[in-house]
Amino acid sequence: MFKAVLTDPSILKTSFDAISSIVDEVQMQTDNEGLRLDALDRSHITFVHLELKSDLFDEYSCSEPQKINVDTEELMKVLKRAKADDVLELSLDEGNLIVTFEGEARRVFKIRLIDIEYEAPAPPELEYPTEFEVPFSLLKDSIQDIEIFSDKIIFTVDEDKFFASAEGEFGDAKIEYLHGEKIEEKAKSVFSLDKIKEMLKADKFSDVISLRLGNDMPLNLRLKMVSDDGELSFLLAPRIESEE
């Protein structure tokens, strides 16, 4: 038996805003510690990890571990229907994920569970030379600045600053931010702007983004709740410039 209640549906909604634009189907795993999800997109470019601990929910019970396989687009269509003051409840029956919105009225949606052949991949453990934080809004704005000239974004970090920049055919753009962390070496990697935009669709998860950056390494981008009860993180494969 599985039941999870959230008085604030926006957490799930914002998470799936990003997740549904990256993967078309996912396996959510639930046990008594909470709900988690690991998924890799079909092109193997983006990995997404969501963890919502049982403490985050206003009511949570999961008597035995469950695997919930859903079409993310269908789930997103339902989550979009949530109103801000609705209470959201997740539960399961034979073959369905049940999403209930309790507000002015009680609205019940049953989303068919699907067959997924894959076992969720485990997140890799990578060693990063740098780790720092930037405000969510700053990165979101930077994306829009960069977009003027390029569809690639160059992330650089040195002892003092974090830079987001672009070199396009018609112009260049550069955003500088004093990160205030102790960083000892410089790191630089290039990423697809579109891919970063997909991740940043989760704009209500956290005000702060934690970034780990290396040289031509995947970007580790983490959104962490202040309460530590929830985390949405991504790993994005870099673009690599050719030698010539």
Binding site: L40, R42, I45, T46, P121, A122, P218, A237, R239, E241
Partner: protein, 391 residues
């Protein structure tokens, strides 16, 4: 100085002087079946049937799908087309109760050629060549038009009577049933499908692109979720003074179409190109309908194989080339993708191979390209190298 592609092709088609068939004001013949809706003066357009002055089965004359696979020469194709006499009447696009339009709808649903009789106001004159639609012969205003009764295609008839089915869904449905593209497009152009109140005539050239992009969009939704191919693949095909190379690259869906016209008019060497990244394209392509038709043909192949790839298509048109309509691109690309590919481990080797087949140095294509240039300059890696996962 040649401006855009439209200007270039206009110049090209204006140079074509081929005598079309000579007929009188009365014509007793057969329609392949074929209809033509002009775009001039939209929304009050010239619509009408196309009729060949001969009896019996004329279906080959308006069945572009069969020309390239059966190796029909450019001369024969032009022969077919210039034999088609276009009758026309001015019709408001929403006026589907018009008696002529009703007959055009019947023609568009027909399974076979139809015996037809037409009386024209004047002797039909001229001919029409364009890069978008297939050429046709002389035209004249039509006064009287009669067709024999005819058997309808089962699937087309079904969508004709389904007045709740959206036109886009009908097109997708018919394509998945394996109907020839030209049959779907004809029925679409005469308002034989779609939600009842939205039905209307659609000019032939627009209807071709509408059908191509409707099918392409649908297929792309499937292809986006397919696994990426493993090698660099080159598919080729040559016909009708054209060479096509389709390069499939192991990366997520992106698409670039490049076409070079070499010495078709004189000494010119011009390249036109357009592209889209994985996030798609918002504006109408500056190279016109061939962009969508090629995209459709590539996605047909990828969807069939349940694979995803980046597609770069290079086309060269040589002296002797005559614009025959976008079908030419569609069928050549389809034919290329029906061949066995030559496979490579990296992009440079694939490009080296293609450069030996092209007449124009490949550097010229690269210089003009957006996507290809970007792919050469940098590549999107995958997480595979960093990951230990089991799928």
């Amino acid at each position: 100085m040649i401006g855009g592609k439209t200007a270039y092709l206009k110049k090209l088609t204006s140079k074509i002087h081929i005598k079309s068939i000579d007929v009188g004001t009365e014509l007793d013949g057969s329609t392949p079946p074929s209809v033509f809706i002009g775009s001039w003066n939209y929304p009050k357009v010239y619509a009408g049937p196309m009729i060949a002055p001969q009896q019996g089965n004329t279906s080959i004359m308006d069945m572009p799908e069969s020309w390239i696979p059966s190796n029909i020469s450019q001369e024969e194709i032009i022969g077919y087309r210039l034999n088609l006499v276009r009758g026309k009447q001015r019709v408001e696009i929403k006026d589907l109760d018009n008696l002529l339009v009703e007959k055009l709808q019947e023609i568009s649903l027909a399974k076979t050629s139809i015996e037809s009789e037409a009386q024209f106001l004047k002797k039909p004159k001229g001919s029409s060549f364009s890069d978008e639609h297939t050429p046709h012969g002389p035209s004249a205003l039509i006064e009287k038009f009669h067709i024999e009764s005819v058997r309808w295609d089962h699937w087309l008839e079904k969508v004709f009577y389904d007045t709740d089915l959206k036109a886009a869904d009908a097109v997708i449905d018919l394509h998945s049933k394996g109907l020839p593209f030209s049959s779907i497009q004809k029925a679409f152009s005469v308002g034989s499908m779609g939600v009842e109140k939205n039905r209307r005539l659609v000019p032939t050239r627009w209807s071709i692109t509408a059908c191509d992009s409707t099918v392409a969009d649908k297929l792309l939704k499937e292809v986006r979720y397919c696994d990426i191919i493993e090698t660099y693949q080159v598919y080729e095909f040559s016909s009708l003074n054209n060479y096509y190379a389709v390069i499939l690259i192991p990366s997520e869906w992106q698409y670039e179409w490049m076409e070079a016209f070499l010495h078709v008019l004189g000494n010119e060497e011009v390249i036109f190109s357009d592209y889209e990244t994985n996030s798609g394209k918002k504006e109408y392509s500056k190279v016109g309908g061939c962009y969508y038709t090629c995209k459709m043909a590539v996605l047909e192949k990828l969807a069939r194989d349940k694979k995803q790839a980046t597609a770069i298509i290079l086309r060269e048109a040589y002296n002797g080339y005559i614009p025959l309509g976008v079908f030419n691109v569609r069928e050549n690309v389809r034919s290329a993708l029906n061949q066995n590919p030559v496979e490579f481990d990296d992009l440079n080797n694939a490009l080296d191979y293609v450069s030996n087949k092209l007449k124009l140095p490949i550097k010229r294509f690269i210089k003009k390209s957006n996507l290809l240039q970007e792919l050469i300059r940098s590549r999107q890696t995958t997480l595979d190298a960093f990951f230990n996962y089991s799928i």
